[in-house]
Symmetry: C2
């Protein structure tokens, strides 16, 4: 008997028929003798509907009140799923985050989980019940409802699995695992049976939509064995087959028998690059440029400062394309303050990254990557590296070409 946490996304919970499918799948695990905790998202479209109502009333919705409203989507989901289980004769009970309680800080709309009380849940599991807990939300120390931000249900599921010391956290989603790259771009893309926590973290932060970054961080920090698998299979698929499907995020690098140099290629089409030219090179210049950008709540990704020439330097950074205009506006305001010559930007750039723990022990990954791009005539605009990934910024029109060429160059189509 194992303790398993299931997480289902909004698409899997998208209609009462689909909720019945989820119940059938959960019942199968429970029938096999496992203790099951389920963390569902809101029904697809519901969170957007609620945010839409809020914005009709208040252009910039008050964060506390927005959380009050948005938390209801998951509350409806857990109640419906509990009923779907009760309807097929499974004892089940639903809880909102505050009932568990899942304690968070008070950063409304982007709260962080601080603690989870497992007492109620354990008692229910021991009594043979399936326990269904709202994803995405918690309660702060003053009893206010908080939410974790978009995609927060993944984080809730992993955090609950950590608190309960679950044997595995199964993230059911509309893809059947983590691929070497997006199969829509490279048809030879191959599903990975395992991926290390660190690789998954890089992939998540580099734009892979499979798992939210924070949930991967949580899984890593608390060493929660987490599996990404499909919610679109027949719910009555034999349990052993389902239990081994998808991609397992592992913590045991040495057991990773695939031994590939790199595991995958991540990309993010919607990047924008901004360069401030002729900046006097003196202490504090990076702060004077990026401070106002951060204050405007714009997230900066890659940052490069050129070698200074004649006491002047150029400063380049990237933001997501949706924030490009806003960032340019901010910099127009600070250009004079910092004595820069001019600001130029390019909103038609994309980022391509190769990721793999194998880089640690293999030299030549960077050179193979740069040679491949060079052979395809693709100019590299910026480079950024970490221990297990290399990212390049390129013209967006070359993005698919770059991903396909790199996928082939690193033999990712091969098992």
């Amino acid at each position: 008997m194992a303790l398993i946490v299931h997480k289902y996304g909004g698409t899997s919970m998208g209609s009462t028929e689909r909720i019945k499918n989820v119940a059938a799948r959960v019942a199968k695990w429970h029938d096999a003798g496992h203790q099951v905790v389920v963390v569902p998202s809101a029904m697809s479209g519901e969170t957007n509907r609620l945010i839409g109502l809020a914005k009709e009333i208040m252009g910039q919705p008050d964060p506390r009140e927005l959380d009050m409203i948005c938390a209801t989507g998951e509350q409806v989901s857990v109640g419906l799923l509990a009923m779907a289980l009760l309807a097929i004769g499974k004892d089940a009970v639903s809880y909102a985050g505050w009932q568990v309680a899942i304690k968070t800080d008070s950063s409304f709309t982007k709260a962080r989980i601080q603690s989870i009380d497992d007492k109620k849940v354990r008692a229910d599991l021991d009594a043979g019940k399936v326990v269904i807990i709202t994803g995405f939300q918690g309660v702060d120390e003053d009893g206010n409802i908080s939410t974790l931000g978009r995609g927060g249900s993944d984080t809730s599921a992993v955090a609950i699995a950590a608190a309960l010391k679950a044997d595995e956290c199964l993230i059911y989603t509309d893809v059947d695992g983590v691929y070497t790259t997006d199969p829509r771009v490279v048809s030879e893309a191959r599903r990975l049976k395992t991926v290390t926590f660190e690789e998954m973290l890089e992939m998540a932060s580099l734009g892979s939509k499979v798992l939210q970054s924070r949930s991967v961080e949580f899984a890593g920090n608390y060493r929660v064995p987490t599996r990404v698998l499909s919610s679109l299979t027949d719910p009555l698929l034999p349990l052993q087959e389902e239990a081994n499907s998808g991609t397992l995020i592992s913590f045991e690098e040495d057991k990773n028998m695939e031994q590939a140099v790199i595991s995958g290629i991540a990309f993010n089409r919607d990047e924008a690059k901004i360069t401030i030219l002729g900046v006097p090179d003196k202490p504090g210049v990076a702060f004077h440029i990026l401070g106002p950008v951060a204050e405007a709540n714009i997230e900066v990704d890659m940052i490069i400062q050129n070698q200074s020439v004649d006491g002047k330097t150029d400063f380049t950074f990237t933001v997501s394309r949706g924030e490009y205009q806003k960032a340019m506006g901010v910099l127009d305001g600070v250009k004079a303050d910092i004595g820069a010559a001019s600001v130029m930007g390019d909103a038609k750039v994309s980022k391509v990254s190769v990721v793999g723990v194998g880089m640690r022990s293999h030299v030549g990954v960077a050179s193979r990557m740069f040679r491949t791009l060079s052979e395809e005539g693709i100019n590299i605009l910026m480079i950024s590296t970490s221990e297990i990934k290399i990212s390049v910024l390129i013209d967006e029109k070359y993005m698919e070409l770059a991903v396909r060429a790199l996928h082939k160059a690193f033999d990712l189509e091969k098992e």
Copy 2:
């Protein structure tokens, strides 16, 4: 400065535009120096949508889980209304029932309020905030969400007003007060400036839809001055004019200057009558007939047992028309057990009632009522009386005629 509780129904909260109107009205009261607590219902249609989802999954939804789901409608409303107030510069905060806390028993879907903690609310009011509390719901001692049943937001508002010892509870609704009878039936129907708590209670239980019976009981038990008034007036109507509009439910009979013998005529079209013939007249017969009916959760209204002849009696009672078939089914089952000759029923009957505290001091109300019906050629099928009301059951085709004739006979069109 007074402490005022406002309650708004689902129609008043039916769109973001209407919610902004509610905010403008609330702000007007706050601007005038009053402390204001607002209890809104779910947006119109929302509770039905949620119940519909639940029924798609479970024909007879589990009550605890149904409450989990249905409580979200009001949670969205309070958040949106708080935002609408914040958007016009009013400090406001929303609470779900469990946050206040409004404690109830564990009778899910029809819970009863046991206590309301006023500490948090008072602190917010003293800090100048408008406090917005979900209607319809609370939390039981185990931390489960409970709801009070349909129309429960009226009860929540009155209970909150009682707990806070509010100066007045204003029930804003889509009618502008309590009328001598339904204006759709009698065009001369007149709005009452005041009505006593007891009259209101009779009218509510007799089918007037203006206020839910339980909320009137609460208002009576805790002597909460409660006013029914229109939410359809211009929100910027001068405060004094609005404060004196509608109908006040009073507790001071002697100050009721209208001094009419009766205050209004209530009616309920959808009644059904069931008669069990030839029942052996022995102790326990009423229990043996009505026990199984109550067990089937069917509410019985009027009950008559005839004078026994030759040791046999007839037993007649009424139920709401929607439960007629179910009740007949139950009685077919018990007919043999009690040795009754036969069961007959009539689902085309209606109830008409005259209500008024003036009956206590005026004789002849019954005779005037019966003479009026007789003059119109309307046969009376059953009669039931209380200290301040007389109800008759008649053929449904005469219902409007009876109401109009009685309205005229008791001079209700005159101030």
